[in-house]
């Protein structure tokens, strides 16, 4: 790995994002709008429910958004020939992947700060733990989303196919992460399944932060999500081939 090249990739991805105003607006504003929508839905029916669902949403959005953005952009690099050109240059696979992870991690940090500010400032989400730790969880979630997106982009030939991986990889995690039914009330088999899905740990960490001031459990969850992200990046690196058929 080479810091100069990694930072060059991260800087370039950020400049591309800055150019693309529509995507940037969607990345930053949409999560806030959707969380507000959820709050409004439950406002009359069951205001307490938002306190349970809000944190899960804060964990989910970075994963979903970064998964989509990363899988499509990496696929674009593969199909436009820029990836081939970079791999013919002195660029390591990890320079490429970590560069992307840094750029999207930064965007995710901004996205999370905004979403957290809206949730706590405007929507009265109760938070027992420290706000900064909530942001750390969100950034690790975003890196997880990026890592998963990088990984699946290897198995898609078109951007259309890449988008189809979202229902295959992300939605099962959304269903089982404790958002709809608390995980301990799921049937045993599904509970076991949710134990091996990274988003479950991300949501656990967020929910823990809203109810408790202790942080040990949160760090353990962050470590699990981080391990999944590292594994995703490693598998992603394995799918980036310098020599292709």
């Amino acid at each position: 790995m080479n810091a100069r090249i990694t930072l060059a990739v991260a800087g370039r991805v950020l400049v591309q994002l800055r150019r693309d105003h529509r995507t940037l607006a969607m990345l930053l504003v949409l999560p806030c709008v959707l969380i507000s929508l959820m709050w409004w839905m439950y406002d009359d029916a069951n205001p307490l429910l938002f306190d349970r669902i809000g944190p899960a949403l804060l964990a989910m959005f970075p994963v979903i958004v970064m998964f989509l953005v990363t899988s499509v952009t990496t696929l674009r690099e593969r199909s436009s020939g820029t990836l081939e050109r970079l791999l013919a240059m002195p660029m390591g696979k990890l320079d490429f992947l970590v560069g992307y992870a840094i750029a999207f991690g930064l965007v995710a940090a901004v996205q999370s700060v905004l979403a957290v500010a809206v949730s706590i400032g405007l929507l009265d989400l109760e938070l027992a733990g420290p706000v900064w730790l909530l942001t750390v969880v969100a950034v690790v979630d975003a890196i997880l989303g990026s890592a998963l997106g990088l990984f699946v982009s290897a198995f898609a030939q078109t951007e259309f196919q890449a988008v189809q991986f979202m229902p295959a990889i992300v939605i099962p995690q959304l269903l089982l992460c404790g958002l709809l039914v608390p995980r301990d009330r799921l049937p045993d088999a599904l509970n076991g399944l949710s134990d091996v899905l990274p988003l479950s740990y991300a949501v656990d960490a967020m929910q823990h932060l809203t109810t408790s001031t202790s942080t040990g459990q949160v760090w353990r969850d962050i470590a699990v999500v981080g391990a999944f992200a590292v594994a995703g990046l490693a598998f992603g690196a394995a799918t980036l081939r310098r020599r292709t058929p």
């Binding site: 100069r4 090249i5 930072l7 060059a8 990739v9 800087g11 370039r12 400049v15 591309q16 150019r19 693309d20 436009s80 020939g81 820029t82 081939e84 050109r85 970079l86 791999l87 013919a88 240059m89 002195p90 660029m91 310098r242 020599r243 292709t244 058929p245």
Partner: protein, 249 residues
């Protein structure tokens, strides 16, 4: 004299920049290159042949991004694609492989950082491909010819010793094509081995040496004059046809 510079001088004095031995490449059900032997030295070497004959595959082998089934490809005495070669070989794919949502200058600054080249390199290559007026334009809004020149500029960064250019003049107007061919010759005179593919036979005359390729094999290898006189005709296209007929007979 620093070791790197001495090494470069020695390597430029060596006869061949590229040595391909018994190269065999299969892509899907097709054998693209069949036990190919070829060497590329200094000057401008043209690789001509119809589309689908294996030109791009051979070029991908030289930069080390093609999976090969047999044989060896050496560039400056090292296996193609090995780490010390990666900032010494400039490569332009057929597709415009730059970021269309960035400006010409932003693209070049990015690739210059990857190569570890100075930022004055950016000004040099922008001038070389004559994109000074479009430096700060987003690549996606440029014409096709300007886009392919932006892609070519990336390959010129950091003064490579071998340039591998896959159809760099497609879609360019005649004046611009003329300019680019002069550029290739200026680079070759400065010691760069330039390897250019084309499917347009009238570009053949501009090469110091020609390789005519068809169905994964080299049909002829020599200067345009040698090839024409060997075939007994006075243009390269006719020579190509005569050679194909002779091979079939």
């Amino acid at each position: 004299m620093p070791d790197g510079v001495a090494l470069r001088i020695i390597q430029r004095m060596m006869k061949n920049a590229v040595e391909v031995r018994d190269l065999h490449v299969v892509r899907g059900p097709h054998t693209v290159l069949e036990h190919l032997d070829v060497t590329i030295g200094g000057g401008v070497t043209g690789l001509l042949g119809p589309s689908g004959c294996g030109k791009s595959t051979l070029m991908r082998c030289l930069v080390g991004v093609q999976r090969i089934q047999g044989g060896t490809v050496e560039v400056f005495g090292l296996p193609a694609g090995s780490r010390p070669l990666r900032d010494r070989v400039g490569y332009v794919t057929q597709a415009v492989s730059v970021y269309k949502d960035l400006t010409v200058a932003e693209n070049l600054h990015f690739f210059a950082r990857v190569l570890g080249a100075g930022h004055d390199e950016v000004d040099r290559v922008v001038a070389a491909v004559d994109l000074g007026d479009h430096r700060d334009d987003v690549v996606g809004r440029l014409s096709g010819g300007q886009q392919s020149r932006a892609s070519l500029a990336v390959a010129l960064l950091d003064q490579p010793d071998l340039l591998v250019l896959d159809e760099p003049t497609v879609g360019l107007d005649p004046v611009l094509r003329e300019d680019l061919w002069s550029l290739f010759h200026r680079l070759a005179d400065a010691g760069v081995a330039v390897f250019v593919s084309s499917h347009v036979m009238d570009e053949a005359e501009r090469c110091d040496r020609l390789l005519l390729m068809r169905e994964g094999r080299i049909l002829a290898d020599g200067s345009p004059e040698q090839i024409k006189s060997a075939a007994g005709v006075d243009d390269v296209e006719a020579a190509f046809l005569a050679l194909v007929r002779r091979a079939a007979a």
